[in-house]
């Protein structure tokens, strides 16, 4: 019986690096909302992960 894999944060894309501390996932700092959207889209397509908006300027990319 396969164990259910836990959700993992695969990457973080943020406008404000102060809002994110360590944890293992790479943090990409974007210079504005458009760049943040672009980086998150590219990463999500490359890794087949979902983008979630924490509504504090930070997106997390989660493998479900």
């Amino acid at each position: 019986m396969t164990q259910r894999e836990p959700e993992t944060i695969v990457a973080v894309v943020t406008l404000d690096p102060e809002k994110v501390r360590g944890g293992g996932a790479p943090v990409f700092v974007a210079s504005g909302p458009k760049e943040r959207e672009k980086i998150a889209t590219y990463l999500s397509r490359i890794m087949d992960v979902q983008v979630h908006d924490l509504e504090n300027g930070t997106y997390v990319l989660v493998r479900h």
Partner: protein
């Protein structure tokens, strides 16, 4: 001749049970052929056992029992094949559905064995007792076997979700980045592109259980995963590798036990989509029946 009657009837029964329906299982034609071949072997085994016993051909009986033991492995084999295929699905079936399909496969083979056994026994006894000529005995045997098949199929047939729940369209909308169907939260979609796709092509479905038994069944993750898989299989899905936000999710409203699904189908026909949801089978492993227990009945609202 009794053996032939039993074997023919068993094989035909298995053929009739092999419906390659929209679920594309078994996979046509190789899967079909392999299921049928196994069914014929099952029919032969079932048909030969009783006449061999009566004729005191104990060596034959030993061989037949050995063959019957092979059928224990069937559920395992089916499960392993389906599990491997899960990797190729855009929307997985889930462990519950896979187990259900494997169980059904096993049960259908046993039914074939039993039907063939009944047919051949009745034919043999009919001919041996000299109550009737052999064509009549064969006919009687076939009728008996057919009776077993029909009775068994009725007992084995799975009910569809539409029999235990009301299914209707729901209003798909966003509050900021949160996707809702009516007032049931489905998921958070961070990318604007994803939200636009849902607004343009998405359909919301609300599934309302008719009683507490249905509520318990619907709460089962395997059952909801099966609903997502089957609906996506029939209606098509605007999703590929790299866009997991388009995986249809079925989420519960904890207050009322209702479930809601958001899906971006290729075919945006709401009527057929709702029918597709209604036709999803109730997974055996998901069926819990709180109303069959005293505390369950007392707690029922």
């Amino acid at each position: 001749m009794a053996v032939i009657t039993g074997m023919v009837l068993g094989s035909l029964a298995r053929l009739a049970m092999l419906r390659t329906d929209y679920r594309q299982y078994p996979s046509y034609p190789h899967g079909y052929a392999s299921h049928l071949a196994l069914g014929v072997i099952a029919a032969f085994t079932g048909a030969a056992v009783v006449p061999a016993l009566i004729e005191e051909e104990f060596t034959a009986v030993t061989f037949l029992v050995l063959v019957a033991q092979q059928f224990r492995e069937i559920r395992d084999l089916e499960r392993r094949t389906l599990d491997r295929l899960e990797e190729t699905q855009l929307v997985r079936r889930g462990a519950g559905y896979v187990e259900d399909i494997a169980k059904v496969f096993e049960a259908r083979n046993y039914l074939t064995i039993f039907a063939a056994m009944t047919a051949s026994t009745v034919t043999y006894l009919g001919a041996a007792s000299e109550l009737m000529v052999w064509p009549a005995a064969a006919l009687a045997g076939s009728a008996a076997g057919l009776g077993v098949v029909l009775y068994g199929k009725r007992g084995l047939d799975r009910r569809p979700v539409g029999a235990i729940c009301r299914v209707r369209e729901g209003r798909l909308h966003f509050r900021d980045t949160l996707l809702y169907v009516d007032d049931i939260l489905i998921m958070e979609i961070g990318l604007a592109e994803g939200r636009e796709a849902y607004e343009k092509h998405g359909v919301g479905v609300v599934i309302e259980p008719k009683d507490d038994d249905a509520r318990a069944t619907l709460a089962n993750l395997g059952q909801r995963q099966a609903i997502a898989h089957d609906t996506a299989a029939i209606m098509g899905l605007r999703k590929d590798f790299g866009t997991p936000e388009f995986t249809p999710l079925v989420r519960l409203d904890l207050e009322t036990g209702r479930a809601a699904m958001a899906i971006v189908p290729v075919e945006q026909d709401v009527g057929p989509l709702l029918d597709a949801v209604r036709s999803v089978p109730v997974i055996e492993g998901a069926r819990t029946r709180p109303l069959a227990t005293k505390p369950g009945r007392r707690a029922a609202d």
